[in-house]
């Protein structure tokens, strides 16, 4: 094994892969949330569809889509491997374990939260990504753009999907609450001056981004967005 691949298969290397892909996925969330927030223009999705059209046709974004899929897969596979390995590192479990005395429940439940997010992701990709990439968006808006907004409206008429999306954002919030600052710690970026700032940004990021995402399907279901 070469020295670099050895480094990535060490315990620290494996965590670094989680950290880097995690930070990359965080940057994706920021772009995704920003563009989706165009639905709040309340213009029957015209602005949103312009954004969607740009994302679907820009060569850089299309190239990044492959990087995103790769990063996502790496994060999922590596996360699952780490969870199994860490479980195996304690073959006999404690009869009494008082984890809440020394750590936050969500920091101990990243595997579970990640699994819930994976279930959501499969449904979510089926709802929108498969439609816009493969089966085709059926209608066009007043500007002549493919009407992804109409697909969104239609999807969020289903109360169960709205509930799944909203609840999944709670999982996302807690996953981020640990993951955001944890990624920095893993990379060794712990500093008396910057760590409190990172934790503060991480807290607000984990509240605001999932909240904005959750508001979209709920507002559409109740016809608050026209």
């Amino acid at each position: 094994m070469s020295s670099l691949s050895k480094a990535f298969s060490s315990s620290i290397g494996k965590k670094v892969i989680m950290g880097i892909t995690g930070l990359f996925l965080i940057s994706f969330l920021l772009v995704h949330c920003f563009l989706n927030a165009f639905v709040f223009f309340n213009d029957n999705g015209l602005m949103f569809n312009i954004g969607a059209h740009f994302m679907a046709t820009n060569w850089f974004i299309r190239a990044m889509e492959f990087v995103l899929m790769g990063g996502l897969l790496l994060h999922i596979v590596q996360g699952a491997r780490l969870t199994f390995q860490n479980n195996a590192a304690r073959p006999v479990k404690y009869a009494v374990a008082n984890g809440q005395a020394n750590s936050k429940w969500y920091s101990r439940s990243m595997g579970l939260l990640g699994t819930l997010l994976l279930i959501f992701l499969i449904v979510h990709l089926g709802n929108f990504w498969v439609v816009s990439r493969f089966t085709g968006i059926p209608t066009h808006d007043a500007n002549g753009h493919e009407d992804l907004y109409a697909v969104m409206k239609k999807t969020f008429e289903n109360v169960w999907l709205v509930a799944l999306y909203a609840l999944s954002m709670i999982s996302l919030g807690y996953h981020l609450l640990h993951g955001f600052s944890s990624a920095f710690q893993t990379m060794g970026w712990n500093h008396k001056k910057y760590t409190p700032l990172i934790k503060c940004i991480g807290l607000w990021f984990s509240i605001l981004i999932p909240l904005l995402f959750a508001i979209m399907p709920i507002a559409m279901y109740f016809n608050c967005i026209k």
Binding site: S3, L4, A7, S10, S11, I12, G13, K14, K15, V16, L82, Q85, N86, A88, A89, R90, P91, V92, K93, Y94, A95, V96, A97, N98, G99, A101, N102, S103, K104, S107, R108, M110, H178, S182, Q185, T186, M187, G188, W189, N190
Partner: protein
Amino acid sequence: MSTGNMNLTLKIWRQKNTKSKGELVDYKVANISPDMSFLEMFDVLNEQLITKGDQPIVFDHDCREGICGMCSMFINGRPHGPKNGITTCQLHMRSFKDGDTITVEPWRAQAFPVIKDLTVDRSAFDRVISAGGFISVNTGNAQDANNLPIPKANADAAFEAAACIGCGACVATCKNASAMLFVSAKVSQLALLPQGQPERYKRVQNMVAQMDAEGFGNCTNTGACEAECPKGISLENIARMNRDYLSAKFVSQEEA
């Protein structure tokens, strides 16, 4: 012997040897003084067992003043029991109430096999130290004190890292049985000082490799280790070790 008024039910892990399957066994102790240490309470129980002709409970202990790191015991779901910043020998029975049921288990980790009852084999830590937790020096006359100027902040941080007594509470409490806090303390105490520099990047690579070989889990930054460490070793040490490891692996051209 015992002169107090506490009556307790103990659920204690009994295991004959590494290979056998253990179980929690119930014991009663009476007239326990609240001023006793937790280990003294165990002494009382063992005397009872010996008098009855039973096998006493095997547990690790040595200095009984919180500096050797020998005493272990996972008490009611926490290493060294319910208080922070102490070892089991520094835990007193006044931290419990009369009539309490207390569960006592050994440290549980793949890398810490049970030897008997509450005693586990922590030699994995020794092997991690042997892999690089030292400085190679030529013997000779001792240098004059303060020959080598060291910034106060570095000296303090190195001293705080060196306070690690290698008790294994970090591994015991970590949901992943990870040894990152221990190893990072042993890496940091030398990485912060000028004497540790020549072997700094070789050391971190070798010690992490040995840690992985021993079968400890991977750190997920829950922070449980820092919260339970009797010596207050900080997570900053783990970040420092990660930094050193990454620069050793991805920047340095030297192979460990």
